[in-house]
């Protein structure tokens, strides 16, 4: 009767694991506590069914174990019992589905007064856009995207002139009010994913998708990508900062508008060249592929890079010096290191930015 004991142990063990496991939902930071409630209801109903059927099965295996002198019953059908079980199951399913659909109706119904923010995905980093003073996003088109117009805004659209463009690795939101996150991708599918807010949605090139939530807890949260988007998928990170309205407004003031960027007035971050370089490396998404600690990545690690002799895919070798670094930033596919795919996008940087980035690279190379 080992089987009976093992079945009972697995059932009991599963239930105990559920209650004792330290690995459960992250503390919620949004209004979607209702999703957690439906999850709990489903756990109760399904848990009951799981325990009941399996224990019944274990009991049947024990009670009707093989005996030479006994014969099984002959009972092809039992209409009454089958109808009762069907009805019972239907009721259980409705008990889980109905509240689920009620919450879904709230999920698809974005509050009228929701604040707008746009998250833009590309391999493998995030940028963000706020509609600015007029509260209206300017129109966008992938075809508008160029070195000087990374966000693809329509330069002739007056609504777009005051849009705030955030190419840093952070998105800030004020606590307490609903936020509608519109989502746009420049290249492939991505998914804006912060476990603590529960809601998420794919980014689809060629479409604007959206979801909404109300931040309810001040703090910083990791933004991850939850839809496979290629080699650097696991490294596509950003930070979401939930803060008081006043702090949020103060941060928002420091972000450049589209008009300012067109006029060449970028956000010049202060600090030493190395600090500026570090900021650039994060904003440009370099870290999705290049590690700082020597670990394997999509591209070569930066640890110990400068001064090294690298073998290229054509078999020749090159000394990693300032000239090679700058060439590889501006025209990455000219000399690709052996063992790596030629997939790095060329960066559009001004001379002082290049200098800052190279300074930073040297500082982390060690």
């Amino acid at each position: 009767m080992v089987l009976v004991i093992v079945l009972i142990l697995l059932v009991v063990g599963s239930v105990l694991f559920h209650f004792l496991s330290p690995w459960y939902l992250t503390p919620i930071a949004s209004n979607w506590g209702m999703i957690d409630d439906i999850l709990t209801i489903t756990f109760v109903v399904c848990g009951f069914v799981f325990v009941a059927i399996n224990l019944f099965m274990a009991y049947a295996i024990y009670k009707y174990r093989y005996r030479k002198d006994r014969r099984a019953d002959y009972e092809p059908e039992n209409k009454k019992l089958e109808w009762w079980l069907t009805a019972f199951t239907t009721v259980g399913v409705i008990a889980m589905l109905a509240p689920g659909l009620i919450v879904w109706a709230k999920y698809v119904d974005v509050p009228e007064d929701a604040m707008l923010v746009e998250a833009i995905g590309q391999q493998w980093h995030w940028t963000y856009r706020y509609p600015g003073a007029d509260g209206v996003f300017g129109t966008v088109d992938t075809r508008n995207i160029s070195a000087s117009n990374q966000f693809g805004l329509n330069p002739d659209d007056p609504n777009g002139q005051d849009d705030l463009l955030v190419s840093g690795a952070e998105v800030h939101l004020p606590i307490g009010g609903p936020v509608k996150v519109t989502l746009r991708s420049k290249d492939v599918l991505h998914d804006f994913y912060v476990p603590q807010i529960r809601s998420k949605m794919d980014l689809v090139p060629g479409m604007i998708t959206y979801f909404w939530f109300t931040p309810t807890k001040i703090g910083e949260y990791d933004v991850l990508c939850a839809e496979l988007c290629g080699s650097g998928h696991y490294n596509m990170r950003s930070r979401m900062v939930i803060e008081e309205e006043a702090d949020f407004q103060a941060w928002l003031q420091t972000q450049p508008t589209f008009a300012q960027l067109l006029a060449g007035i970028g956000s010049t971050s202060g600090g030493t060249p190395i600090e500026q370089g570090e900021q650039l490396a994060r904003d440009q998404g370099c870290m999705a592929c290049h590690s700082l600690d020597g670990s394997a990545g999509v591209g070569p690690t930066w640890k110990g890079l400068v001064g090294k002799n690298e073998t290229l895919i054509d078999g020749s070798s090159v000394l990693v010096d300032d000239a090679y670094l700058i060439e590889s930033i501006l025209n990455p596919n000219a000399k690709v290191v052996k063992g790596y795919a030629p997939i790095m996008p060329p960066a559009q940087l001004a001379d002082d930015q290049l200098k800052a980035l190279v300074a930073y690279l040297k500082s982390v190379s060690g």
Binding site: L7, S14, P76, E82, M96, M201
Partner: protein, 595 residues
Amino acid sequence: MALTDVTHDAQDFAPPAEVEEAELYHPKTWLGKYVFSQDAKIIALQYSITAMAVGLLALLLSVLMRIQLAWPGAVSFITPDTYIQFVTMHGMIMVIYLLTALFLGGFGNYLIPLMVGARDMVFPYVNMVSYWLYLFAVLILLASFFVPGGPTGSGWTLYPPQAILPGTPGSGWGITLMCISLGIFVIGFTMGGLNYVVTVLQARTRGMTLMRMPLTIWAIFTATVLALLAFPALLVSAIMMSLDNLLGTSYFMPAIISLGQQLDHSGGSPVLFQHLFWFFGHPEVYIVALPAFGIISELISVHARKNIFGYRLMVWAIVVIGGLSFVVWAHHMYVSGMNPYFGFFFATTTLIIAVPTAIKVYNWVLTLWRGNIRLNVPMLFAIGFVFTFINGGLTGIFLGNVIIDVPLSDTYFVVAHFHMVMAVSPILAVFGAVYHWYPKITGRMLNDGMGKFHFWVTFVGLYCIYYPMHYLGILGVPRRYFANAGANGLPDWFPESAQMVNVGITIAAIVVASVQLVFLYNLYHSATRGKPAGGNPWGATTLEWQTAETPPTHGNFGKELPSVYRWAYDYSVPGAEEDFIPQNVPAGKDTGHAS
């Protein structure tokens, strides 16, 4: 007519044959018998061996993935690129080239003609071509490991645009070979599938009415119909994506900036691909699950020495599940960006499926009730199936209910769910079926001790792999990640202890994977040294156990085809001498009153 009248008609006789028995053409050469064979039984073995061989590769890939997840960076050739290539090839091989091929090409070919009382499939030559096309598809798939860029790393879902853009490994040769291989697979499968359907509809022996067919055949038949209707969606999406990739069309490709370059595509829809893929992909789940359902019904009934409970409801459940499986596909796409109002419809249809599925589970358990349960190795696996299927089926209710899917989608909860329901439970059904029918295929029993060892480690081990994995998903761990610690370290919410879960899972996975070698050795060892089985070692009623010779020869039933006088589940009939009455035994005084 009372519901308990299971013969469904007053025919105690089978109608006389309308045409005379004709001898099959028997091959004379070794090549004709064993290589280019048109005998469904040989084709079944060819399918099974090929599927298991390629499945072993997929198993190895999964172990490599698990090693990376437990000890990141431990194996130097596992890079972010090779990792997602392993993910992709593991998934695609397991779903299509192992499970689909094994259940339909393997068990379908072996069991359909024998269980319906036919000499062979109705189109033996087409059946042979089906296998060779399958083998060709497998070889093309394997070739993608050796082309520049390696196999595609776009996930088994092959979503464009990433599948054909340079930021994904294998976006050139790899995805092209994948599409070609899938295309050939679908063509080959269609040849086999038409055979299975026509054989079931047209070649049943005298007296084998549809409502006397064993549930295994009902299930394989329905799964084949699903496959014939679903695979074309996969075929067209593979063709359309290849056109986008090779000729620059824009079915699935909108205007895109790929790694700094403006592409020429415009106007296509990536979501269209997802609709086509899942219109195939969801029925595919049932193409794998239904044959397992049928086989488990058979195994439980035979080894509990009791008729299957609620046969007619079981048949209807199979048919209804098959039908509903075509109207639930977008539950894979709740967060894909499709119109969110679709969520109401697809959540409802999805949860409706829970009802016939639950009925099947109840009826398996009620078949055990008041049975006389023999815990033979096939029965152990059958009970393991029911246990894991209950678990996997219930977590499906979480993911089907659209609002709960939102936080859980693309996390390890999904990985754990679909492995439990379409990897663990079907593979347990496969093992149960192999232990059950091996004596018919070889004439010898599989070694019992090795079988029990294999069962215990596999069943308990698989549960230990996938049950804790759900909780990683609830915590929020995303799937298809090369490493949870990216360049910025672990996410804030990721506790060190969760990494311990990953280590535990990997250890269990390595143990379970190694033990499969015992199973393979048992297959090899028992073929020549196993205990002779005789024709009907389990005392089963269905026709494959009533053949004149074991293993059955070409033509299956010797000189005369059997006639069928009763349903497939006359076990422990009151008053009968034995505790089973084969389907080809006419009513008589020794068969009790129920017939």
